[in-house]
């Protein structure tokens, strides 16, 4: 009787240890994705002369390592081609690419990479370093992650102040003409990294 109990206990211990090991292994395993360029969108909305205007970046690449139960090793890394900015007006796009705004000839790409990813009540949040116009600053984002057939969907938003990054020099510094706050919206269709 005593022997049996001992055997049962040791089985339990082994089972528990195996389960713990499996969990530990899962915690380290994140799935690796890249964003499918055609289906993914990166939008921004600013305020010009008191009215909101929207724009997109047509060219950007995103590399995502993510698992909802392995947030410590999850990471989102986005490279944006600043030349691909499109606000559906050529004059404005030319101005935005110019030296006083994005200065694309000296800063052709912007880079965002997360440092920490955490769970929130409604989804996930991350804080990452955004390098824009040669200035690097932390920008928090909020996002949802939904597994989908053949990959996943990652969508979310962020807010930043353009003047923190020196976007808008000289006459474009005035927040009366162009608001400081800029909203970002993104929707990435993720495919497994091959």
């Amino acid at each position: 009787m005593k022997k049996l109990a001992l055997a049962a206990t040791s089985t339990l211990i082994i089972a528990a240890a195996t389960a713990a090991a499996a969990t530990a292994a899962a915690a380290d395993s994140v799935a690796s994705f890249t964003a499918a360029a055609e289906q993914s969108r990166l939008e921004f909305a600013g305020v010009q002369a008191g009215a909101e205007f929207k724009g997109v970046f047509h060219k950007f690449t995103a590399s995502v390592e993510f698992a909802p139960d392995a947030l410590a090793s999850s990471r989102i890394d986005v490279q944006i081609d600043m030349n691909s900015v499109d606000t559906m007006d050529k004059d404005r796009d030319t101005t935005i690419r110019s030296k006083d705004v994005f200065d694309v000839s000296h800063n052709p790409t912007a880079h965002y990479v997360t440092k920490t990813v955490t769970k929130t009540a409604t989804g996930f949040a991350a804080v990452g370093a955004l390098t824009l116009r040669g200035v690097t600053k932390d920008v928090p984002i909020e996002f949802q992650f939904a597994p989908a057939a053949g990959g996943a969907k990652l969508s979310g938003s962020a807010k930043l102040n353009r003047l923190d990054f020196g976007v808008g020099q000289g006459e474009w510094k005035s927040t009366e003409t162009i608001g400081d706050a800029v909203k970002i919206n993104f929707s990435l269709v993720l495919k497994p990294k091959t």
Partner: protein
């Protein structure tokens, strides 16, 4: 609704509509014509920002004024005017009303076509009338510019006609639209 205008005078509401809109149109010409010569930049954006806010104010006043006009007949034109003169005067005024709508509307559509939504003094944003479209923008800008010349010519004719009535014909056509004046009762 009874006619609020007297047979010989425009009343205070009609006069307010006339002079406020006249002042706004002068402002619009100053802002719009000078903005054309500014290089693309923050000053131009700011000037056109005012131009759009005033333009939407004019459009709103035009709606109210037309409603008012539908229920309140204007004072009779002087009996001494010929039929042709009366028809010309009527045509001029119809065209003024048309332009009071068409100028702001083409301006609003221009902004929509360029994907620059119209704000009203930074208080709220008007919806876009059409989607972004460069060709439509170019056509609308030409229309808006051309019609501004027509409006300018019409205003000039209007002012000269008012002065002609006052100093040449010596009738009360000018005075009945002037505040703080009196017009004689016609027998």
């Amino acid at each position: 609704m009874p006619n609020q205008n007297s047979p010989t005078r425009y009343n205070a509401v009609a006069q307010a509509f006339h002079w406020i809109i006249a002042a706004l149109i002068v402002t619009q010409f100053t802002l719009g014509w000078t903005a054309q010569f500014l290089p693309l930049g923050a000053r131009k954006v700011a000037r056109l920002d005012w131009h759009k806010s005033f333009g939407m104010t004019i459009l709103t006043l035009a709606v109210l004024r037309l409603l008012w006009r539908l229920f309140n007949r204007p004072p009779e034109l002087p009996a001494g005017m010929t039929t042709i003169e009366k028809s010309l005067a009527r045509a001029t005024h119809v065209l003024f009303y048309v332009l009071l709508f068409v100028m702001p509307l083409t301006g609003w559509m221009m902004s929509s076509a360029k994907n620059y939504s119209v704000s009203w003094f930074h208080q709220f944003t008007w919806p876009n009338l059409i989607g972004p479209n460069e060709q439509a923008f170019n056509l609308l800008r030409t229309t808006h510019d051309t019609l501004s010349w027509l409006l300018f010519a019409l205003a000039l004719l209007h002012i000269l006609a008012a002065l002609k009535h006052h100093f040449w014909d010596k009738d009360d056509v000018l005075k009945r639209m002037l505040p703080f004046t009196k017009t004689e009762k016609r027998s």
